[in-house]
Amino acid sequence: MSAGTTLPAGIVRDPGFPTQSENYLTNSKGVLSWIFTLDHKRIGVMYLIGVSLSFLLGGLLALALRWHLVDPDGALFSNAIYNQVFTLHGAIMVFLFIIPSIPAALGNFLVPVMLGAKDVAFPRLNLSSFYLWIFGAIFFVLALCGSGLDTGWTFYTPYSTTTDTSVILATLGAFILGFSSIFTGLNFIVTINTMRPPGMTWFRMPLFLWATYATSIIQVLATPVLGITLLLLIAERTMQIGIFNPEFNGDPVTYQHFFWFYSHPAVYIMILPAFGIISEIISVHSHKHIFGYRFIAYSSIAIALLGFLVWGHHMFTAGMSDMTTIIFSALTFTVSIPSAIKVFNWLATMYKGSISLTTPMCYAISFIFLFTIGGLTGLHLGTLATDQHLHDTYFVVAHFHYVMVGGTLVAFLGGLFHWWPKMFGRMYNETGGRISALLVFLGFNLTFLPQFVLGSRGMPRRYATYDPEFAFLHTMSTHGATLLGFGLLVALIVLLRSLFSGRRAVANPWGGATLEWNCTSPPPFYNFERAPIVGDPYDFHDIEWDAENERYVTIEPERKLAPETIPDEAPAHAGGQN
């Protein structure tokens, strides 16, 4: 129905605005009420601040790297400093930003609200996982202030057991962060398993929850392997035990197997929640039922499981046996199918929808574009023969930045803009938001498209200096990075400005049908005034645009009591015919 028509008769549900004292931000005051809070929403907000600061630090390091590479002999950095800068850029981005960004920051805020629960299953564990994150981050900062770290974020042996930089501090940091990640995953698994309200069946769960669930499985199963590996590394460094270092009869490739057994699934810790966010955004801003709900849900689980079987593709040139290499190559291709399915499903969701090009939608479209490139260039690397040439070149750098930055970061930003009104009760400037999405998109492509060409022409990664024939493409890439940084700055300004001068947000600014849009913005302390009514999370039939008040409201047709002869018609949440 178009704007201006009258709303159909029925029961209008619109939670309206929260009163001054009934939202989670204002119900208690003071620093201590935040430090000791057990409220998942406040913990989510604290994580959001933490990961954003980490991202800022990692991003500034990235810009420094790019500026160095415009004129590598101009010596912005010495070789040794360059190595430390790229190591910290990678380690901070992976361990402190990408892995916790969506699950810990957005996930903590959203999982209980979308589920219709009051909190996570273990609120104290949740708070402790945040403080573990802080401790882990402190260790990284100590490593930075100490003698630096120059191993690359992968800590490959035997380099990491012999270098005289702060390997032990950094690996201990990663070890502690691992616990934080495990606790978050454990909490979500238990929450989703046990705290679904009546009527919330598995297949009525929003896809973001499916994605979070799949992610949590990986976090709980894979992270301990990383922890043990890092402890072995520390043991070898301090006690000269022969595990990885051939000098003590160890085998360095063993380390790579252990490390990637965690770190390849970790790639899916980074990207699966992003898939969840995009599924929500595309459906809500197209006002259309998500296409192929079950395929998307199952493909999340499939990716989580298959992701455990493909780690060997990081070692195609390390000297594994030919049979092992071929098996890993075959397995690697299987994981690309569920990812492709999701892209097609999102497109089909947009087909014949009612699309609003809001800021989150712009980010989601940008995500599909960038993730498609990231996914498709993975084919060159999964194929054995081409990988021999492209391995450890800038082609790989471009590929994984398309997946992690073009994928995870862009989805994170899209999700942040999508749920920002819910989290803080304020609307942001739409034009500013869209400009940031456009700048991020253009800057990102200008940064990383040239790197595909650099890689296929043979430019190895992690080089502080390079042969003159690569200079032009490097300069292009640096200009792109600057533009990308500017776009992110615009996004930050738009969001921060909204906190001070933004319009007050209504409960359901986009017309979403998932449960979080049923409570006020920002949500009350216990999320819902009364147990929410659970239906299909992507059913937009009842959601109408109220042109007079300029907001989306839910209009339920007046239900007559179901006749006793046809009990099936009773809504699932009504608890039977009585």
Partner: protein
Amino acid sequence: MLPAAFSLLADYTEDYAWFPDSASTFSEGVDSLYYWITGIAFFFFVIVIVALFFFALKYRKAKGEKATSQVSHNTPLELAWSVIPSIFLVGMFIFGAKVYLDMRTIPDGSYEVGVQAFKWGWTMDYGKGTYHPELHLLVNEPTKLTMRSSDVIHSLYVPAFRAKKDVVPGRYNYMWFEPTLVTPKVSDEELAEATKEVEESGGTWDYDKYQFTPDGYKFYDLYCAEYCGENHSEMQTVVVVHETREDLEAWVKKYSSRGDNVSLEAYGEQLYERRGCSSCHSIDGSQRVGPSYQDAFGSTRAFASGPSAMIDENYLRESILYPKEKVVAGYAPVMPSYKGQLSDDDIDSLIAYIKSLSSAGQ
């Protein structure tokens, strides 16, 4: 075609874009596979992107308008778009594995070169005591490299050959390739001019500047592709492909052990360049990873472990063979041992050379 379209962006001085020269029997297979995958990827990319932007614009509606369809699934369609891409993936896997197996099957009777990788340089072993950092090969002759590392993991990468293999300490790794293009020789005048220039400035040979070797051969780049510490990006050498076996053998002979009329000192200087000493030790007093040779001989140094001592012949010999025993204070113990790699005559030559760089030694 795509490569042509990108060549402007990539490098206006070269007529190629996606790849460096195609110079081995692997290049064609890898390149065509690459183009084939890129073609398929591009095809699916165009479908996705056209649909994405077309839908985003076509179905853009005013606020409050309902979507014209709420279809939530269509199993045949979903099966189709799962199965059809899978068929392409199987194709990529099979062809990729096939070309890969060719790259892994080393032909019998290959020309063999030993490779020693260390922080941060390469030593190629041509047998009979001939070592040199440059890799010299014969055209159309399969070559097998037997590779080992003295310290951390390195990776030998020749982009023009599309070949790469990690060099892992504690084990031998093997790779092979067959070069198909001869690297031409520059004219004698050009070589003489460059040689004169280098001699006059007293510097070392700059491969990037001249784009040919001190013997006048043009070359392909050889990189270390696995991160190995401070000078990872300087760990480069060159590959020269000779046209005839005689030419290759003449080159190898030129660099075999010290000739009758070559002084210890002069040969020591050659070894300094060839065996990678120059990547860590300067001869002009400048700071590198290891101490400079300038005025080293006869000076007294403090050691990280134990008392200080004077640098003499015995100390130099011990440091070449057991470099971690007495490390000069302020330097990391990163030098690999040359035990078993240098003959007594080689070590004497190096010591003579180091002595010549010090006023105390003359």
